[in-house]
């Protein structure tokens, strides 16, 4: 099991946001967390990557408890987040943004990437090229400031930045939010491609139908709890899920 979340409870100050949820992600999967606004799916993602501290429960990444880890400590372990709203570094160029994605490489003498891939040295340019293969448009725009990109291109940049170190588990928070419809398709195709290249994916998505079409498994959130969990295919066919969460009658 790559990621295992056991009885996770999260509060915002005194407000209960997540009530005793458990979920798992196995290596190679695409897992989608769907549900209405405020159901807690984003909260779950933020707790997993260390942006929020859980009140109780356990988060295990490759069997190791990561409850008390900060996001920057998890990057070295191979867990990267693409935050909601993309959050690229707007005043920096596209290539500088990607460079920041590889910040942890050789920042200490025990670079995580070196340990993981057993490579003597990792050239940043080599990592950049890999991302440019996936997102050729970023190569064209590499000298531009990130603020000048369209929101779709910014999403690619945010994903590319998280992919620089080839994480084991990529967390995506609302990857299609605010994108034009044709970019939504592109982004999901990219996610599929990243998964095929060997990265496990856990994503939160408003666009529930789209997410389930691409995912292997899904968790349906409702007011801080998990209402359904099943193979994505089964969820798409489940009458109750269709009626309550996919807006069908």
């Amino acid at each position: 099991m790559l990621l295992e979340v056991r009885s996770l409870t999260v509060y915002y100050d005194t407000v209960l946001a997540l009530d005793n949820i458990s979920l798992t992600v196995s290596e190679g999967e695409i897992v989608a967390m769907i549900g209405p606004n405020g159901a807690g799916k984003s909260t779950a993602l933020k707790a997993i990557c260390g942006l929020l501290k859980p009140r109780s429960g356990e988060i295990l990444f490759q069997g190791e408890n990561i409850n008390d880890k900060q996001p920057y400590q998890l990057v070295e372990k191979g867990l990267c987040l693409v935050p909601e709203g993309r959050r690229v570094f707007t005043s920096m160029t596209v290539s500088e943004n990607l460079e920041m994605g590889a910040y942890t490489v050789s920042s200490g003498q025990f670079s995580a990437l070196r340990r993981r891939n057993r490579q003597p040295r990792t050239d940043i340019r080599h990592l950049l090229d890999k991302v440019f293969v996936l997102f050729p448009v970023l190569k064209e725009r590499r000298k531009q400031r990130a603020a000048t990109l369209s929101s779709g291109e910014q999403q690619m940049l945010a994903i590319g930045r998280a992919l620089m170190l080839k994480p084991k588990l990529l967390l995506l928070d609302e990857p299609s939010l605010g994108l034009s419809p044709n970019y939504v398709d592109t982004v999901f195709e990219n996610i599929k491609q990243i998964n095929t290249d060997g990265t496990t994916i856990l994503l939160v998505e408003q666009n529930a139908r789209m997410a389930l079409e691409y995912a292997d498994r899904g968790y349906v959130f409702e007011i801080g709890k998990i209402a359904f969990e099943d193979k994505a295919k089964n969820l798409l066919e489940n009458d109750e899920v269709r009626k309550s969460f996919l807006g069908e009658h």
Binding site: F89, M92, T104, L165
Partner: protein
């Protein structure tokens, strides 16, 4: 008269600019006004005084040693006061008040140790300055100008080219995004306080070669640094440089026709004019919503 005023303006401006870029480096990372920056400037001058006059160190060694001590002081202020507040998620207002507290505490500490009287670092006989296009410039003033410009260039190269400098820009842009790409925020905060305080200290040391020093010298320097940062565009390093020189020139040219006692008044008038018609300054971003 005019060439001399312009020259004085440039020299004053270079000191303001160094204070302002130090202030800006810290502001960009922590997003609150670190008022204790002014007292770090004062202590920089007193470090230099102690090393040169009391311990008879040589000038260049004292300069570098004082800068290092100022940087360490900056880190110590952050570690002992701001860090515990960060752990408690304190609001910006709390940080602002705390930084005032640090300012007053350290200013009084200097007074306790050195006394309230004026001190002077005079390292040689007073020499006549060089004549330069109808103005007179002393060796010390040339030193101030050259060192200030070198510091600005060094800072710019550091921020633009080095990995740590780029990480500082990333944190300035978006601290959460910086955290999720693997940048340890505490490390960047520490670096920012070290660099910003080193710059404040350097400005204090440079000015101590030129004028007398006293425990309360930091307050007006701090205000000039803040005004320079605001009119340059808060958070912008080139803006802080531009704001510093603009302020120095405006103050000195302003007293061409009126009494020199109005200098500070001119600085605040400029601040008020900017806040009314162009609050984002020369190079700041208009859309950005800034909080003190």
């Amino acid at each position: 008269m005019l060439p001399q005023l312009i020259l004085n303006g440039i020299i004053a401006g270079s000191i303001y600019a160094v204070i302002a870029i130090g202030f800006t480096v810290i502001y960009r990372t922590v997003k609150f006004f670190h008022f204790a920056h002014g007292v770090v400037y004062t202590i920089g001058a007193y470090f230099a005084y102690t090393l040169i006059i009391s311990l008879h160190f040589n000038l260049i060694l004292s300069f570098f040693l004082s800068i290092v001590l100022a940087a360490l002081l900056g880190i110590a202020i952050d570690r002992s006061v701001y860090y515990p507040l960060r752990q408690q998620n304190a609001s910006n207002l709390i940080f602002l008040l705390a930084s005032f507290g640090v300012f007053i505490f350290l200013q009084n500490l200097i007074q306790l140790i050195y006394g309230a009287q004026i001190l002077t670092i005079r390292t040689g006989p007073i020499k006549e300055g060089h004549h330069f296009y109808g103005a007179v410039i002393t060796d010390i003033q040339i030193l101030i100008l050259v060192v200030s410009i070198i510091l600005m260039i060094f800072l710019w190269l550091f921020i633009q080219k080095t990995k740590l400098g780029k990480a500082m820009r990333a944190v300035a842009d978006d601290p959460v995004a910086a955290n999720v790409v693997g940048i340890n925020p505490e490390r960047i905060i520490r670096t920012s306080f070290a660099i910003g305080s080193a710059l404040a200290g350097a400005a204090g040391i440079l000015i101590s070669f030129e004028t007398n020093i006293e425990p309360t010298m930091g307050f007006s320097a701090l205000l000039k640094g803040i005004i320079a940062s605001i009119i340059g565009g808060i958070g912008s390093i080139p803006g802080a440089v531009l704001g510093g020189f603009f302020l120095g020139l405006a103050e000195n040219l302003g007293i061409w026709k009126i009494s020199a006692g109005w200098k500070d008044c001119i600085a605040f008038l400029i601040l008020i004019i900017f806040l009314l018609i162009r609050p984002w300054g020369f190079l700041g971003t208009k859309t950005e919503k800034e909080t003190i």
